[in-house]
């Protein structure tokens, strides 16, 4: 291993436990909502297609994610930004 790789390993790469925690937090969000792991991607694709016909929407900025919800198993939140100008 070269010095630069070691430098990256020591100071750049997150420790395995951080990676594990991030992965688990995501996995459990889907598990708790009872959704397959590609659910959000699939919803996002469908929404983007539907939004194409509106020129005032900035489709590149559409943001979609799962959050917890009080009265349902989970909630999918979608942010749809309007273009500037």
């Amino acid at each position: 291993m070269g010095f630069m790789d070691k430098l990256k390993g020591a100071f750049g790469k997150p420790p395995a436990k951080e990676v594990a925690k991030k992965r688990l937090q995501l996995i459990l969000k889907y598990d708790r909502a009872g959704l397959p792991p590609n659910a959000v991607e699939a919803v996002k694709e469908a929404i983007l297609k539907a939004l194409e016909e509106f020129p005032f929407i900035d489709t590149s900025g559409v943001n979609i994610h799962i959050t917890e919800s009080e009265n349902t198993k989970g909630k999918i939140e979608i942010e749809v930004p309007v273009k500037n100008g």
Partner: protein, 265 residues
């Protein structure tokens, strides 16, 4: 006492349910409490092995369910620890041989005669799990600091909620302080951030565990066992004592980073 009937469960197999059950039960019996441990892992009995009682079994839980003997007649008295009793699982029957209502009935019959009743749950989230959890006032989820175990533990917590049981308490088992310090293994805070449960204890990886089990002598009987010490502390916490929980955690220092950089590690 609200914490009298305690079920130990996990979802995933092999994470240490039987080890934790045998040790906490032994620790409480050593303190003078009258304790019974019920092996609810029908068809895969092994709590008897951890306690070293396998060749004293005459009747098992299925005999009790079938009405062959009353529960008290099937109990095996521990030979090393006074006040400790085992209700063994059947080795030949399948999980459906004991239904939730059967175990509820057995627990009710034993309730007045014991200070603590432990139920060692089978792995999985099906029938056998539901049977083991149904009579419990308190549920302990055992998890290893490892992805699959934590994911399964979360499933179990969800199922307990659906069964309208109180939220399980967490025991983290087999935490390896060396791997944690290196950042290779999830530490206590990480696990709590992901699972968000009340922490009852953290049991470290103990290389002598296999030999304790081979001898049929629980780790809590050994003063020098590092796991035994934390398992005794868990028993104290069940009695309401406020014993601090060691927070083995990741703390890679600048010096460690330099060592990694220049050293051969």
């Amino acid at each position: 006492m609200a914490d009298k009937v305690i079920c130990i469960t996990s979802g995933k197999g092999g994470v240490g349910k039987s080890t934790v059950t045998a040790n906490i039960a032994t620790a409480l019996a050593m303190k003078g409490y009258k304790v019974v441990a019920i092996d609810a892992d029908i068809g895969l009995r092994n709590l008897d092995l951890v306690l070293g009682l396998e060749n004293r079994i005459v009747y098992d839980i299925v005999h009790v369910v079938e009405g062959v003997v009353p529960p008290e007649k099937a109990l095996v008295k521990d030979k090393k620890t006074k006040n400790l009793y085992l209700l063994p699982a059947a080795q030949t029957k399948d999980k459906s041989a004991v239904k939730p209502e059967d175990l509820v009935k057995i627990v009710e019959e034993l309730r007045d005669k014991f200070d603590f009743i432990f139920i060692d749950s089978p792995a999985g989230i099906e029938e056998g799990f539901k049977t083991a959890v149904t009579p419990a006032d308190t549920i302990i989820v055992v998890a290893n600091p490892e992805m699959a175990s934590i994911r399964d533990a979360d499933r179990v917590v969800g199922l307990c909620e659906a069964m309208q049981k109180p939220e399980p308490k967490l025991v983290i088992n087999r935490l390896d302080p060396k791997k944690v310090a290196r950042g290779d293994m999830l530490d206590v805070e990480d696990v709590l951030q992901v699972l968000n449960l009340d922490l009852l204890g953290v049991v470290p990886e103990d290389r002598n565990m296999v030999s304790y089990i081979n001898r049929g002598e629980p780790a809590v009987l050994f003063e020098e066992s590092i796991a035994g010490k934390e398992l005794r502390n868990i028993a104290e916490r069940l009695l309401g004592k406020d014993v601090p929980i060691p927070r083995w955690s990741y703390s890679e220092s600048f010096l460690d980073k330099l060592k990694k950089l220049f050293g051969s590690e």
